[in-house]
Amino acid sequence: MNIIDSNVLSPWPQPAVCPVAREVADGNGLPLTHKIITNHIVTNHAAGLRQSLTPHHFALTMADHGDDRTATGILARTALPIAALHEIHAGEPGDVSNSAAFALLMAERARMAMEKAGREGAGAIFWVRENGDIRRHGYLYPPGVAELSIDPAGIIYIDAPDTLAALRAAADAARCSALGAVIIELSGQRPKGFDFTATRRLSLSAQKSGVPIFCLRHNAGLPQNQPSAAYSRWQVTSAPSCAMEAKAPGHPVFAVNLLRYRGGHAGFSAHLEWNRDERAFFETPDIGAVSALPSIGADRKDMRQRA
């Protein structure tokens, strides 16, 4: 796995922080690095264009948050088009729940952006899944969804008998502009019928209907080996949470790695925590794999105290 500590190495050259006033003051502007998105304005320096693209994009965290040195700040500027296909890979077979949650939360962020942009009553999230996975990965548990501040009543869950049926259902759903988002969950290295053409088709339907599609992949092998027309590709692994009182597990933390990003440079990685109250992601310090020995000792002491 390829996780770069974001505090040490910022993946992007220093980008323009761009309230409009400052950009105007800069005059010629800065060389193009990537599209930058802040409060409702996207500046594209090389072309000298300024488009108001925000209604068509979403970001994983709040737009006016942090600066470019922090992951949260970069994340706020990583504009993800709503009408596109995004791919989320589970880092390891054990990270299924984590990546599923990440996809769901991304879908929720996209839906929030759609609502903000005035698309009334952004519809339900259609979750398409193959039948066979349920035994292995368990089924989606709505009370747990509600705990992430997503209303389970807004999720419609589709069990398809095989990959082809799942793809067909997802393609049909993607053409329906009334939906909030489509999540399609596929497992295995080469799901039958899921090739570059299929991703291209999904991506085109997303562009046409304006509904974001999230493709969730488990056990897909190396993401680099999978051709895809996705706009962005994320690898999600579970990461230790920031402990609550008495060493209780805290809010969900995701170690994400942006492997591909058509709007700019990829290679961004960070530990993100879902903040339920703000309904956005925030960066957390990388706790990393805590070495086992001392904490076990501490744990034992703790346990004895409790017992």
Binding site: G94, D95, S97, N98, A100, L104, E120, G123, A124, G138, Y139, L140, Y141, P142, P143, G144, V145, A146, E147, L148, D151, P152, A153, I155, I156, Y157, I158, D159, A160, A165, R168, A169, D172, A173, C176, S177, A178, S238, A239, P240, S241, M244, A248, P249, H251, P252, V253, F254, A255, W274, R276, D277, A289, V290, A292, I296, D299, R300, M303, R306
Partner: protein, 478 residues
């Protein structure tokens, strides 16, 4: 006891109601099958369905009769009403004969008269020759009537009614009237007629599936016009395709929202035909196709969008159409929506119901809001049933220390718990007594060294409920 005998057996002197031993004594090589009244009823229903091609009002009268209300249904068989009726009846007889059934029929003004005539092999007008047992009263009454010298319905018909009612009860007059055609009785048809029905008959049976689907679409368009007059849209559409050899294909379509849209219907129909287990086999061809709107709901007139039609599409409608389409293709149970259920047992706290049945969002029960400040207390994925794990804990009733799941060892770094969830003892027999209410679960939220979060529980309180409780993994957190 013999329940029924075939013609050959009847010729040998056997009859229904005989003891099996007696029958065997008469005919030692007798073939005997178990009496299965349900299968008989099912067969009769199938035959009744076959007769739906003649009239929509068909009723099965167990054990072995069919009633068809053919009023106004005979014009296909000629202009002369009486002759046409006869031709229709003979047509049915031929068809049943072709399928291997022998039938006797009668046409009469009332269902009871027709039944009685057919049972006794008589034709219309011969009601007075029927024996009194055709009244269908109990055996005692029949015997009493015969003892008084009244053997035929004709004998009864000329008697003063008041005397009969005094002697045999008021019911006898009613039955007499029904047999004599003085009083009618409604029949109970096999299938309640839908509000709206459209059908098409073909002089030559059609065999091409494309043509059939086209025809169904046209029928739906006809039905849609009728629906529009009533301000309604179709929710459940049933289609019957009668093959000329008597077989029948049945198709049903359920839509997510009331509709009159022909294009939508065409799409759903295509899905439905594609989802059939055995594809539509026209064989020698269909000669009658009928489409019925079995359920409809109010749907106001819609205005066509002249501009921005794509942008301002009816979002609710689109989503319902999609749900309907997927439900037709994958089965209605595969497209589900979650609703909270009132239970504190984790795996019973939800209902997954078909999205087609979901009430509008405003009527849905609300999911409980999470507690502010707390991390998620319920997992995102749940295993049902929970999976057994091997756990090492420092003390038997303490938190887990490490566990093995799917042949992997997980070292627990953080935990919270236990959250104690009591069993539903009131569901069990003698559950209120100690030890019989089921096992308590102690849930722990744990996180291992890799940062994965699990939901584990110990099944049973150590020492009190179980000597060495098992551990299970019940869910995975994000």
């Amino acid at each position: 006891m013999l329940a029924a005998v075939d013609r050959q057996a009847a010729d040998l002197g056997l009859a229904a109601g005989m003891k099996l031993a007696d029958a065997r004594a008469l005919v030692p090589e007798l073939l005997v099958f178990d009496y299965d009244p349900l299968a008989d009823a099912a067969l009769l229903d199938r035959l009744a369905e076959m007769c739906l091609r003649y009239t929509p009002m068909v009723s099965a009268v167990p054990p072995g009769a069919l009633l068809l209300d053919i009023s106004g249904c005979t014009h296909f068989y000629g202009s002369d009403a009486a002759l046409a009726e006869k031709m229709l009846a003979e047509n049915i007889e031929d068809r049943l004969d072709g399928a291997g059934y022998s039938a006797s029929w009668a046409i009469a003004g009332t269902p009871d008269a027709a039944l009685a005539l057919a049972r006794h092999g008589l034709r219309e007008g011969a009601e007075r020759q029927l024996p009194v047992s055709a009244l269908g009263m109990d055996a005692k009454t029949h015997r009493a009537l015969e003892r008084t010298g009244l053997y035929h319905i004709g004998d009864l018909a000329v008697r003063p009614r008041a005397g009969l009612a005094v002697r045999f009860g008021a019911a006898i007059n009613l039955r007499l009237d029904r047999i004599l055609g003085i009083e009618d009785r409604p029949i109970n048809p096999l299938r309640l007629l839908g509000n709206v029905t459209a059908e098409r008959r073909f002089a030559d049976p059609v065999t091409q599936v494309d043509f059939i689907t086209n025809c169904l679409e046209e029928l739906f368009a006809e039905a849609a016009i009728m629906l529009q007059e009533r301000g309604q849209g179709a929710r459940i559409i049933r289609m019957l395709l009668f093959r000329c050899d008597g077989k029948m294909a049945r198709l049903g379509i359920e839509t997510g929202a009331p509709t009159r849209d022909r294009a939508l219907f065409a799409r759903l129909l295509k899905e439905r035909i594609a989802a059939l287990d055995d594809p539509l086999n026209p064989g020698f061809g269909y000669d009658l196709i009928r489409l019925t709107i079995a359920a409809s709901e109010a749907l106001g007139a819609q205005q066509y969008m002249l501009e921005d039609a794509e942008k301002r599409g009816d979002t609710q409608g689109d989503q319902a159409a999609l749900i309907g389409q997927l439900s037709v293709r994958l089965g209605r149970g595969q497209i589900r929506q979650f609703r909270p259920a009132d239970s504190h047992i984790p795996e019973q706290a939800l209902l997954a119901l078909p999205a087609l049945d979901a009430p509008p969002p405003a009527l849905l029960d609300k999911w409980p809001a999470p507690k502010p400040g707390e991390p998620p207390l319920r997992p995102l994925h749940l295993f049902d049933p929970p999976q057994r794990i091997a756990v090492i804990a420092e003390v038997p009733d303490g938190p887990p220390y490490r566990f093995t799941w799917r042949r992997r060892l997980h070292q627990i770094l953080r935990y919270e718990g236990p959250e104690r969830i009591a069993p539903e003892w009131w569901q069990r027999k003698d559950g209120q007594q100690a030890g019989k209410g089921g096992l308590t679960r102690d849930y722990y939220r744990v996180e291992d060294m890799r940062g994965r979060r699990y939901w584990l529980f110990r099944h049973g309180l150590y020492g009190r409920e179980k000597r060495s409780p098992n551990w299970y993994i019940h869910g995975l957190f994000a």
